[in-house]
């Protein structure tokens, strides 16, 4: 290993720089580097350019007309007005909506599982809302980390959605062989390790799953040490504590009482009509011992109308043998069996396998009546029959027995039936299909109504008792052991590994048997230590990146050897220390950055500076850049006054379905619900959304700490031709006509102020007046939405 913890910059303690200069500390560091290259700052940006920049940057929306006017006309010094505006923007809920997306990108958060089923995670959205709220409330970053890793210990459940941000295959999509099941578990935990180590530590620990890290001193043992911290983690839902939970909990008792009363009524009805209790899912029919050669079951109906099915059918003799077993040479048969990806054959009835996860059921090919039959190898005296329900539940059947003897001389005799059975709660047949011997049709209907009421109340009680749910990590009290795996192969376990952080970062003193939640709490303690060399550096670098387009380290989730060295190492350290000193406050950090001269420079290129530093890494100007997909869409809606500012809750849909195996089709038209900010769109993994997906929207497959900013003809086609953008252009034209005055020149001026926060140049105005005159104002608005000035932060 080339890199030792002692030498690599990002593992050194953060270095404090004492600044004698009276100016802004950021400008001090930037100026130093500029001087070295004989460069200088650019002049300040124009007032309105600066306003548009900071609005888009902090909130993802352009300034409103009122703000533009107030800002332009305020007689006070720009610095004062500007600082005041920054405070307003940071206080706006729009800030959290904008910056939460940056975090969701890093951890590839989405609301579907990925892979070919891409099934929906319906209750994942509370995590997104938690992030937005945390940012809007300026939750200190150390607390932000604590809640996401160990929110369960402080009553914050939604934050644990962080750990389940990545894709994970559904259980049903995993092979039934041992290797496939172990691999799937390894993959699940791998996603967690990647999420934690890349987003918080800026280290690619995931690279050490199969072998020691090629570039950084991260060993395979470090990987499995991290895995052990999360060994108790389970994917799925957990109770979302909070107000709603308390309200639901308060309803549990009264609902249970109501249900008990209803159940009492049902029991009274059962007794009144002389009905036997309802069928069990593993049901036993007892009868007088009888000599049997064959047994058959005639199935008339299932409770849910699905084809008849059973996992197992057992026939027990008086000497306690299951004589129906195939291993006892009994022969099963059935009216039919379904063809599916797995066996639905009637042989499954008598294979002796009753663990539903490891065996297959018999399923009839079609709905409606069906029969099964077992011919015994030799006649036996039998006394009971046990059947195990399949995917559907039987509701109406008869069981018959055939004694041994000449076929013409023996007859089937009835052993058991359901004609005096109380229907089950899950029986949803219409009353007309239910025949109960002792009841009139009217009585049957009443009984089924009562059953339906009990069913609904039972469901309601279960819902209230479980409480509101969030898709977030849960933890077993006793995590299973973690093993070092040879070459990452789950079938090749080596020594047991204790929960640990990568050795290059120190020790957290846990044992292999350490309990939950200590493992995670120790990790949090480590991460949020004020001397941790990575946590604050990684975070301030991310924030810097979103203000300037590129981080001080341009590889934001990798501060290891394969990552880039910082362009301004002393500035990075100064910011990180300042960030901690200011109580890990993100808003203070934003304020510090955007109030610098560096941030407020003009973005116009200067050819001499371009020659020295074409990428503008030294920040001799503000680097202009294309906006992200979300900001483009939200801005279009905003300038039209169509943006729906509803916050939180389940997302709106870009597709006509939310998850599943078949094609996703794009939703063509949106109304108010679909005009919410794009962060509130239901995020489908691996599916680019129409129009805006082409603007480098991450697909949430791999982590995306930094978006690419490509420029493609599909973007041009989408913005120019899509019905969405053209309809929005129409809305803008309507607004401009309604508010901008009744003549074209005034309307063009007004449109410019809305879209660009400035007045048009003469040449621009002339061209647009011509376009408006010939082809209408809608075309002007369409062109403005397509222009680079609109889709760029300049």
């Amino acid at each position: 290993m080339v890199l030792a913890a002692e030498t690599h910059w990002s593992l050194q303690p953060m270095k404090k720089t004492v600044i004698a200069d009276k100016g802004h500390p950021i400008d001090f560091f930037i100026a130093q580097k500029l001087e070295q290259e004989k460069l200088d700052f650019s002049p300040p940006a124009h007032r309105t350019t600066l306003l548009r920049r900071v609005c888009l940057d902090l909130t993802g929306l352009p300034p409103s007309l009122a703000l533009t006017q107030a800002f332009a006309n305020d007689p006070r010094e720009t610095a004062v007005v500007y600082a005041e505006t920054v405070d307003q923007l940071l206080a706006s809920p729009r800030y959290g909506e904008r910056w939460a997306q940056h975090w969701l990108d890093v951890i590839r958060w989405a609301e579907t599982v990925g892979f070919e089923t891409n099934a929906e995670r319906t209750q994942a959205w509370p995590y997104r809302d938690w992030v937005i709220s945390a940012l809007n409330h300026d939750m200190p970053y150390d607390r932000f980390i604590l809640e996401q890793i160990a929110g369960d210990t402080v009553g914050i459940d939604a934050a644990l959605g962080f750990l389940l941000a990545g894709p994970a295959n559904l259980a049903g999509q995993i092979g039934r062989d041992e290797q496939a099941m172990r691999s799937a578990r390894q993959d699940e935990l791998d996603e967690v390790i990647r999420t934690v180590s890349q987003s918080l530590l800026g280290l690619t620990v995931g690279c050490a799953r199969c072998h020691n890290h090629k570039f950084d001193p991260i060993h395979q043992k470090d990987y499995y040490g991290m895995q052990a911290i999360f060994a108790g983690l389970q994917y799925g839902h957990r109770r979302l504590r909070g107000q709603q939970n308390d309200a639901w909990t308060a309803q549990v008792k009264p609902t249970a009482k109501k249900l008990a009363a209803l159940r009492g009524q049902l029991e009274a009805q059962r007794l009144k009509h002389g009905l036997r209790p309802a069928l069990e899912t593993i049901h036993t029919e007892h009868f007088q011992p009888i000599l049997a050669q064959s047994v058959r079951m005639k199935i008339k109906a299932t409770a849910d109308g699905q084809p008849a099915s059973l996992y197992e059918f057992e026939v027990w003799s008086t000497d306690q043998q299951n004589v129906a077993l195939a291993s006892n040479r009994a022969q099963p048969s059935a009216s039919s069996f379904a063809l599916a990806n797995q066996s639905r054959h009637f042989e499954n009835l008598t294979d002796g396998l009753t663990d539903n996860r490891q065996s297959d059921p018999w399923v009839a090919k079609t709905v409606g009546p069906a029969w099964i039959r077992v011919d015994l190898a030799q006649a036996a005296i039998i006394e009971r029959i046990v059947w195990h329900r399949g995917p559907s539940m039987l509701a109406d059947y008869e069981i018959e027995v055939l004694p041994p003897g000449e076929p013409t001389r023996v007859e089937w005799q009835r052993l058991a039936h359901t004609e005096d059975r109380l229907p089950r709660l899950d029986d949803i047949r219409p009353a007309t299909d239910v025949s109960l011997k002792s009841l009139s049709p009217a009585q049957t209907e009443n009984l089924l109504l009562l059953i339906a009421t009990v069913r609904d109340q039972t469901t309601e009680l279960a819902r209230l008792s479980a409480g509101p749910q969030v898709y977030a990590a849960s933890f077993g009290a006793e995590p299973p052991p973690t093993w070092l795996l040879r070459r990452g192969n789950p079938m090749q376990r080596q020594e047991e590994v204790a929960p640990a952080i990568p050795a290059l970062l120190g020790e957290i003193g846990l044992q292999p048997g350490s309990a939950e939640p200590n493992r995670r709490l120790e990790l949090v303690k480590h991460l949020t230590h004020r001397h941790h060399p990575l946590t604050a550096r990684v975070l301030v670098n991310r924030i810097w990146q979103h203000h300037f387009g590129t981080g001080l380290v341009s590889t934001p989730s990798d501060l290891g050897r394969m990552g880039e060295s910082p362009s301004h190492p002393r500035l990075l350290d100064w910011l990180a220390l300042e960030f901690i000193a200011q109580g890990w406050s993100l808003k203070k950090l934003h304020r510090l950055i955007v109030n610098s001269r560096t941030y407020q420079q003009s973005s116009r290129p200067r050819s001499q500076a371009l020659q020295v530093d074409a990428e503008t890494r030294l920040l001799w100007r503000f680097p202009p850049r294309r906006l992200e997909a979300e900001a483009i869409r939200d801005s279009i809606l905003f300038v039209n006054a169509k943006l729906n500012l509803k916050m939180g809750g389940p997302g709106f849909d870009f597709f006509n379905q939310r998850g599943g195996l078949s094609d996703y089709s794009d939703r063509e038209t949106f109304e108010e619900d679909g005009w919410r900010r794009m962060i509130y769109a239901h995020k489908v993994r691996m599916q680019a959304v129409d129009i805006f997906g082409a603007f480098d929207c991450p697909d949430a497959g791999q982590m995306s700490p930094r978006r690419s900013r490509s420029i493609t003809p599909l973007q041009a086609l989408s913005l120019m031709n899509s019905p969405f953008v053209n309809r929005q252009a129409g809305f803008l034209a309507q607004r401009v006509k309604a508010e901008g005055g009744d003549n074209s020149p005034a309307q063009i001026d007004y449109a410019f102020r809305l879209v660009y926060a400035r007045a048009p140049e003469k040449s621009e105005k002339k061209a647009l007046l011509h376009l408006a005159g010939q082809h209408g104002l809608e075309q002007v608005c369409r062109v403005l939405f397509n222009s680079s000035e609109f889709v760029f932060i300049q």
Binding site: F115, E116, T117, N118, G175, A180, Q198, T204, F337, A340, N341, Q342, S343, S554, T555, M562, P605, S607, L610, A614, T616, R625, R626, L661, S662, D663, Y664, D666, R685, M686, A688, A694, D696, D699, A700, G701, Q702, P705, R706, S708, R709, S710, I711, T712, P713, A716, L717, S718, M720, N721, P723, N726, L771, H775, Q779, V780, V783, N786, S787, S788
Partner: protein
């Protein structure tokens, strides 16, 4: 024409700096540091043709991908022992549990095999048309996959990784080589007329490469989205809008002299305008003569077959138009084997349907490329995510997933013709001789395009990523 003539005639690309597409620039810089030779992208012309690492036999690729896992033992991998041991358990694996559960006894191929062509290659009666092209094909019988689940396995075959989010091989090739033409996207993905393949857009995604390199999905039945202006706009409106936009863009450029990103935006509108003309032209199959349509089976009364045949004709036309990588999908999403090759339950009847659709169009494509002299410079790849078991599953009339050994093939573009490489064991259960990984397969495809798979890299999250991860060997033995 819809954007504007004005956009097209005054192409002005400003002098190059690395301002635009900074992610690309960064990737390239880091690659240089690592001694790799990543392509240099001109952000205003991301699809400009780029030089390969060395002079290649193949310029372009058409891949036919059979989604759902095509059974090798019923098509190209002839196993006399499987016929002989029909009805008996697989020796040593009597109780094998695979993806869907327990397996039953060995089951002989459901179609007869017979020798085809001069090379006398045994190909089954399921795919007789492809069989007639055996003398042009290089069969690879020893592919393996590390996943036995469709989605991850399709990811592996098309991106090199089982996980979601890695760039597809078409995107890698687009990134490396750009396009040969001026007016079409460099990478086109043609979906099956019956629907999206199982791994969906993963198969043509750009992953962490810039979005410019993703596959553009369209087909004979599904046009490029938003290619044409809204129906309620007029020709002259669209023209005027395009012209005015160009004017605003130039004004803005004057305020930002030397800004490459702005130049690239204008160029992207110009390419979009050219695509509006060229894509409908290339997708208009009406001018294909009847004998060509018949060759592919586009005249079939079987609608799915005719549509798939048209997709194959479209692929040829795209290659003629300079598209670098065309991927044609045969088989749609998971559907119990009804719409793709996932024959678990009733393999015989389902495969009869699918083979009707696949066979003649693919054979027609090979023949047509050959007669036009395109097969020398075009590599045809035929692939699937894994094979199927030599046994039937217990209680079904089909075969379970088999990632241990399966067949893919190559044709044209610098590979040996009428040749077979690698082998599974006597029953077709596991690859045994010259075992191949998808990485080897990918390394070979890149090699045939003049690309060193170890040198084609892109920095992402701490690693110089490659299509072939840290693996892959060029299969030298099959190079012509």
């Amino acid at each position: 024409m819809s954007l504007s003539a004005c956009l097209l005639d005054r192409r002005q690309f400003l002098a190059g700096t690395w301002q635009g597409l900074s992610a690309i620039a960064l990737g390239a810089m880091l690659a240089d540091e690592a001694g790799a030779t990543s392509p240099k992208i001109d952000p205003s012309r991301p699809y400009a043709p780029r030089q390969p690492h060395f002079s290649p036999p193949a310029q372009q690729v058409i891949e036919v991908f059979c989604s759902g896992a095509l059974s090798h033992v019923d098509t190209f991998d002839y196993k006399p022992e499987l016929i002989r041991y029909h009805g008996q358990p697989l020796p040593g694996q009597e109780r094998l549990i695979s993806f869907q559960g327990p397996n039953g006894n060995l089951t002989q191929p459901l179609w007869e095999f017979r020798p085809r062509g001069q090379c006398q290659k045994m190909v089954s009666d399921l795919l007789p048309h492809i069989g007639t092209m055996a003398d042009d094909i290089c069969f690879l019988h020893s592919l393996t996959n590390k996943s036995n689940t469709h989605g991850p396995a399709e990811n592996v075959m098309n991106t090199g990784f089982a996980f979601d989010g890695f760039p597809s091989k078409g995107a890698w090739i687009n990134y490396a080589l750009g396009s040969l033409g001026q007016n079409l996207p460099a990478f086109v993905a043609i979906e099956d007329p019956r629907g999206m393949p199982q791994s969906g857009p993963n198969n043509w995604a750009h992953g962490f490469l810039p979005a410019a390199f993703q596959g553009t999905p369209f087909s004979s039945t599904k046009p490029i989205r938003h290619l044409q202006p809204p129906p309620d706009t007029t020709h002259s409106q669209n023209r005027a809008a395009g012209r005015t936009l160009a004017l605003l863009e130039r004004e803005n450029q004057q305020r930002f002299p030397g800004d490459q990103e702005l130049a690239a935006r204008l160029a992207s509108y110009q390419l979009a305008a050219r695509m509006q003309l060229s894509v409908p032209e290339v997708a208009n199959l009406k001018d294909e003569p009847p004998h060509i349509r018949r060759l592919y089976g586009a005249d079939s009364s079987n609608r799915a077959k005719a549509a798939f045949a048209e997709n194959c004709i479209l692929a040829r036309r795209l290659v003629e138009g300079g598209v670098r990588f065309v991927q044609i999908f045969n088989g749609a999403y998971a559907s119990g084997g009804r719409l793709n090759w996932d024959g678990h339950s009733q393999l015989k009847s389902q495969y009869e349907v699918h083979a009707q659709i696949l066979d003649q169009p693919v054979a027609g494509l090979l023949r047509d490329l050959k007669q036009r002299g395109l097969l020398d410079s075009t590599l045809v790849v035929f692939a699937t995510e894994f094979g199927r078991m030599p046994m039937f599953q217990v209680g079904t009339y089909g075969r379970d997933h088999n990632p241990y050994g399966f067949t893919c093939w190559l044709a044209g573009g610098g590979v040996k013709a009428g040749y077979s490489y690698g082998a599974t064991d006597e029953f077709g259960f596991k690859a045994q001789e010259n075992v191949l990984t998808p990485h080897d397969f990918h390394a070979t495809i890149l090699h045939l395009l003049g690309l060193d798979h170890e040198a084609l890299t892109f920095y992402h999250n701490g690693i110089q990523r490659r299509l072939t991860d840290v693996h892959g060997r060029v299969i030298q033995e099959i190079l012509a």
